[in-house]
């Protein structure tokens, strides 16, 4: 990890492209076992491939992944895909410590933003994608702390969150608490691939914009993965 950090710092020195930080915060608890985790793996792999194949996004998007299945775990730290090998592989198991995972993601984001600033690299407003098929059962204090932090950042325009529920048991109310400005969306069936294809296109669009641009996301594309 230490060497990764060094590499990521050197990358900031050598590549001045404005960064698009994206953190995937993914539920890998026991209930995701089976088709859900398989489709999630396939979706994230596709996301990595798509970002990698876009030559602007490759040098601009910094992807990180935090999972919560039993415990919060950093599967990939913020870096461009030029410096990540393959998409992480997830296994389902354990409880749903969503608050711990969100706090970990926010800590990682703060650290990386500090590094951007220290190196003189611009960055776009960060995105967090929060996906769950259940309800959080980690520490209630951590959960409310992470909700507070997330809401503060969103209200300060320092973060955009895409909260997405998977299946009938997804706690849409808790997802809504993470998203003070708008309602969370529910994934259509197990359309992870469609979602991640859409996400990669959106990341590409942002990375091809100039700081200050309003980026129009593909609204029609949302119909391919969200229950509307």
């Amino acid at each position: 990890m230490k060497n990764d950090n060094l590499l990521n710092l050197e990358d900031l020195e050598n590549n001045p492209s404005s960064r698009v930080p994206v953190c995937l915060v993914l539920d890998t608890s026991g209930s995701m076992e089976g088709d859900s985790i398989n489709e999630l793996n396939e979706g994230v792999r596709l996301f990595y491939d798509a970002v990698r194949s876009d030559e602007t996004a490759l040098y601009a998007a910094e992807i990180s992944v935090v999972t919560f299945g039993g415990h919060a775990s950093c599967q990939a730290g913020f870096s461009t895909l030029e410096h990540q090998s393959e998409a992480p592989q997830f296994y389902a198991g354990g409880g749903t410590p969503m608050g711990e995972a969100m706090n970990m993601a926010l800590d990682m984001l703060e650290k990386r933003k500090g590094e951007y600033k220290a190196s003189g690299v611009d960055y776009y407003q960060p995105w967090i994608v929060l996906m769950t098929d259940g309800m959080p059962n980690g520490s209630p204090a951590e959960l409310s702390r992470s909700i507070q932090r997330t809401c503060d950042m969103i209200n300060d325009r320092k973060l955009t969150i895409f909260p997405i529920g998977i299946g009938e048991d997804a706690d849409m109310d808790v997802l809504a608490r993470f998203s003070p400005k708008r309602s969370p969306l529910k994934l259509q069936g197990l359309n992870f691939k469609e979602f991640f294809a859409w996400l990669s296109k959106s990341v590409s669009k942002v990375s091809q914009s100039t700081p200050g641009d309003k980026v129009q996301l593909d609204v029609d594309g949302i119909k391919g993965w969200a229950e509307l």
Binding site: K2, N5, L6, L9, L12, E13, N14, N15, P16, S17, S18, E55, T56, Y59, A60, E82, D107, E110, K111, K113, G114, E115, Y116, K117, A118, S119, G120, V121, D122, Y123, Y124, Q125, M153, D156, R157, K158, T160, F162, S179, K181, R182, S183, L185, S202, Q208, T210, P211, G212, D213, K214, V215, Q216, L217, V219, I222, L228
Partner: protein, 420 residues
């Protein structure tokens, strides 16, 4: 010129949408004012404003999304047509296009080729797209761009939204300017812009489309573009441990040194080397343009495209004659890996990185200044603690394209909320 400087666009009838009831598709037949027909072919590319189609003519057709056609766009295209000016590589409209219901849908323009300037900003992409380029090629590219901008300014046209996505590069002499329908022509403002290319005096204005830009305003954007090509990929106001880009522009806190004068905020990495290898007269020009109180730092004193052209011609002459390289061969490269050599200094190889370095430094420290710096930054990294959230919000808050100050972020769900 000065009289027109800050007049508002009030004399112009406000922009309004011109609804289009038919979505253009390949195979559709459109017509021009003179009655000639044009058949749309395949789609070559799509953007936020619309799509570019092949046609059955040597030209391509830019067709707006139905909700993007406005009275100002049509008037501007007409004004550009009326001016009857021509500049190779500037993709001026050739004719207005109407659909079968006689609705304005877009315009015919020349084909474009090349890579966006944005791809020059990323070193790995630059090396892939233009592997043989030397510094002279970048300097010649600037000359080509400056000649076109100078021609437009001479004809009373302001580009308005100079940015790395609307200039395409095929070779140093072959450059294409696209999105000319946003240019400021005949009192019709340019409705778009971006923070890094907006001068300090306009940073606080609300809507890009609510005022007319002056040549003096635009000369700032020209200087930013030139800087970003010379210090390849960097913006003049990116800085380490500093404020955001917008605040730095307003404060004119330029991040690169001139002689001993420096704000000590030059971004880490090789950019200091790129800057150091510029000739003194180029550094002075940039420094005085971007620094508060500099002799070219205000709307009325900024260097114009012809002033810059003279400097770049001189730079190219120095490079092509071999004179500049004789002083330090590395100055001819796009990405130098150390500072420019100084006269009167003895150079030896650094035992760690094998770069030529000041003998005095090696005697004192054993390794060169850059290796020393890297070691320091590694030590710093080991003890790095995440900062607590400060007031810092990235070097830019995302703002809407037509608004120059921070406005609420527009995310996907906002868009959904508008629709549903």
């Amino acid at each position: 010129m000065k009289a027109a400087l800050n007049k508002t666009a009030q004399s112009i009838v406000p922009d309004r949408n011109l609804p289009v009831s038919l979505v253009a598709k390949p195979g559709h037949v459109l017509h021009m004012q003179n009655g000639q027909y044009v058949t749309l072919g395949t789609i070559l590319g799509q953007g936020g404003e619309g799509s570019v189609f092949k046609t059955n003519t040597p030209y391509v057709a830019k067709i707006y999304r139905p909700e993007k056609t406005t009275s100002h766009k049509m008037a501007k295209i007409q004004a550009l047509l009326d001016k009857r000016i021509d500049c190779p590589g500037v993709c001026f409209p050739k004719a207005i296009l109407y659909n079968s219901r006689n609705e304005f849908v877009g315009y015919l323009m020349g084909m474009v080729e090349g890579e966006k300037v944005r791809s020059l900003y990323m070193k790995p992409l630059f090396l892939k797209k233009f592997p043989s380029w030397k510094k002279r090629d970048l300097v010649e590219l600037c000359i080509t761009i400056l000649k076109k901008i100078g021609y437009l300014h001479k004809n009373g046209i302001i580009l308005g939204d100079i940015n790395p996505d609307n200039i395409l590069v095929k070779s140093p002499k072959d450059v294409y300017f696209v999105d000319c329908d946003s240019y400021q022509v005949d009192g019709y403002p340019c409705p778009v812009g971006t923070i890094p290319f907006t001068p300090p005096e306009l940073q606080k204005k609300v809507h890009y489309g609510s005022y007319l830009r002056t040549v003096g305003n635009e000369n700032f954007a020209v200087a930013v573009l030139l800087f970003s090509l010379m210090v390849t990929g960097q913006m003049p106001y990116n800085q380490k441990d500093g404020e955001g880009a917008q605040a730095n522009i307003i404060n004119m806190d330029f991040s690169y040194p001139l002689g001993d004068v420096s704000n000590k905020k030059t971004p880490a990495g090789p950019w200091r080397f790129l800057w150091s290898h510029l000739p003194r007269f180029m550094k002075e020009a940039f420094y005085n343009t971007f620094s508060k109180g500099g002799c070219y730092s205000t709307e009325s004193t900024r260097l114009n495209s012809y002033d810059w052209l003279k400097k770049f011609n001189e730079y190219l002459r120095l490079l092509d004659s071999g004179k500049y390289g004789a002083q330090d061969k590395m100055s001819e490269e796009v990405y130098p890996t150390r500072f420019k050599k100084q006269k009167g200094v003895v150079y030896v190889k650094c035992p760690q990185c094998n770069e030529d370095t000041d003998e005095k430094y090696i005697k004192e420290r054993g390794i060169c200044m850059e290796c020393q710096r890297k070691m320091r930054s590694r030590r710093h990294q080991k003890s790095f603690e995440p900062r607590k959230s400060s007031g810092y919000q990235g070097t830019f808050g995302r703002t809407t394209r037509t608004v120059s100050r921070a406005t609420p972020q527009l995310g996907l769900l906002d868009i959904l909320n508008w629709i549903f």
